[in-house]
């Protein structure tokens, strides 16, 4: 009996491994198919998520950080991850599995660049955060209001233009004004942003690239 169970477990582990590997090569169709199969044979949604999708996405993040792969591979893997997430999400809600935390994210007012911001959003989702994406050209007040409404732990802001960077300081100042500083942590990033600038405006963290931003957000929420 024990032996049979062992074999059964191995089959399931192979399935989960297959999910993470299919995600890594960006095969959304196969991820969908395998996720259905895993859930159908009684693998817990949390196991598919953590050992399948998130593990795969973490590996993608690492390879991206090491310049082994580039943006297109990350985007395709993210699509595959979304495909699996669509199937798992209703079950996670039913099983009441908590996420790592809520992050409000956006490009600062006046800035219409969003590739970097989108990448960070995708990768944060990939490791298990809940993302409220406010898009481009987001006013400081809107960041703070969304964080309050959603009870988010982190605000992530991106700027590609030096002219829009002062908006980041406004968000930090607004949080202080409303007594939310410390409760809502702020991470900043984008090509012209530096750690010196983060210190200057009093933000909590600076992500020098997407993978680093994910590490920093994890640290901010103690995950």
């Amino acid at each position: 009996m024990i032996k049979v169970r062992g074999v059964f477990k191995e089959v399931k582990m192979d399935l989960i491994k297959d999910i993470s590997e299919s995600l890594e090569i960006g095969d959304a169709e196969r991820v969908t198919e395998l996720t259905k199969q895993a859930l159908g044979t009684g693998v817990p949604a949390a196991a598919v998520l953590n050992q399948g999708l998130i593990l795969g996405m973490n590996r993608i993040g690492k390879k991206f950080k090491d310049h082994e792969i580039f943006l297109p591979d990350v985007l395709l893997a993210a699509k595959a991850m979304y495909a699996g997430m669509d199937l798992i999400k209703p079950l996670l809600i039913k099983e009441n599995i908590p996420t790592l935390g809520k992050v409000v994210i956006g490009s600062i007012q006046g800035d219409l660049h969003d590739i970097g911001k989108n990448l960070v959003a995708i990768m944060l989702k990939g490791v298990g955060f809940e993302i409220i994406d406010l898009g481009n050209d987001v006013a400081p007040e809107k960041f703070v209001a969304a964080a309050q409404k959603e009870n988010a732990q982190v605000i992530g802001m991106s700027a590609l233009l030096t002219t829009t960077m002062p908006g980041m300081k406004k968000v930090v100042d607004l949080l202080k004004e409303k007594g939310l500083a410390g409760r809502v942590k702020v991470i900043v990033g984008g090509a012209p942003v530096t750690d010196e600038y983060r210190q200057e405006i009093g933000a909590d963290a600076y992500g020098y690239d997407a993978a680093n931003a994910v590490d920093k957000v994890k640290q901010l929420v103690g995950a």
């Binding site: 310049h67 792969i69 943006l71 297109p72 985007l75 395709l76 050209d137 002219t163 960077m165 002062p166």
Partner: protein, 295 residues
């Protein structure tokens, strides 16, 4: 046209051109506000745009770029200005010509759509083709001397631009420059395109002049140019930044001095780069120093 002999003929004769430097920062100094469409300045403040071009020509630029980097209908739509695509692009060429008075060639700047093509993003290639063709048609109607596609990171988008230019502006040469990041594994664009792939794909598409702009200071551009030169006999175009940006007291600063950059640009000319200009952080002072060192 600018009334000058064809730019490609001059390049074939071995002429080395000095091009202009940054446009955006010069316009900010002349009142462009955060959140304002830089290309709308062609209609609302043409004198400021013309002044920038005149400053660069005065500094020794023999090729000047139009203020049309973001004047594709896809980009203009972000400001709800897509209906003014023709007006903005034609006016930009007219401003440059007026400033040039036949002393400089007019290279019509075309920047990336800012969107990702399918399957990576949601942009349909057909929509990109239409957007590129519409902008190029307007630039060609106003008789620009070259179509200058720049700051590309996706080779598929770059190829679409070249093909669009070859289709709607058959007698105007196409220049394409890609933006590379230095990585421990070599130079790659954000989308993972290396120099070899750039040369192969752009050559196959019929690009006339190719190279790199932005993303690197002049030191690294010398390495990039040398790699291009090993792979192609096409004329090369290189526009370095004045170093990489750093922030000082809330202001972006580029640390390469005109002299420092000019020394590297002389090296670019020695390697065989045909068109040398500047990107982010460069000023008329940089272009003046470069022109002195090269000519």
């Amino acid at each position: 046209m600018s009334g000058l002999p064809g730019i490609l003929e001059r390049l074939r004769e071995g002429k080395v051109f000095v091009a202009d430097g940054a446009m955006g920062t010069m316009l900010i100094d002349r009142g462009l506000k955060s959140g304002q469409c830089p290309e709308s300045f062609n209609l609302t403040n043409p004198d400021a745009v013309a002044e920038v071009s005149r400053l660069y020509i005065g500094a020794g630029a023999e090729i000047i770029q139009t203020n049309t980097f973001g004047a594709s209908p896809i980009k203009l739509a972000l400001y709800d200005l897509q209906d003014k695509t023709e007006e903005i692009n034609r006016k930009a060429v007219a401003i440059a010509k007026e400033a040039s008075r036949s002393h400089a060639y007019i290279a019509a700047s075309c920047g990336p759509s800012g969107r990702l093509l399918k399957p990576y993003g949601d942009l349909d290639p057909e929509d990109l083709v239409k957007s590129c063709e519409r902008q190029i048609r307007a630039l060609a109607d106003a008789a620009a001397d070259a179509i200058c596609v720049e700051t590309m990171s996706d080779i598929n988008e770059a190829v679409i631009w070249v093909k669009a230019a070859k289709k709607v502006a058959t007698n105007i040469p196409v220049f394409v420059t890609m933006t590379f990041d230095p990585t421990p594994r070599g130079f790659f664009t954000m989308m993972g395109v290396d120099i070899k792939k750039t040369v192969t794909e752009l050559t196959n598409a019929g690009c006339d002049v190719l190279g790199s702009n932005c993303g690197n200071g002049s030191d690294q551009m010398v390495d990039i140019a040398a790699m291009f030169k090993e792979l192609t006999d096409k004329p090369l175009l290189i526009r370095p930044n004045a170093g990489m940006p750093i922030l000082e007291n809330g202001r972006t600063v580029y640390l390469e001095t005109p002299e420092y950059m000019a020394d590297n640009c002389r090296e670019l000319a020695r390697i065989g780069v045909a068109v040398i200009g500047g990107c982010c952080g460069t000023t008329p002072a940089h272009i003046r120093a470069i022109a002195r060192k090269i000519h």
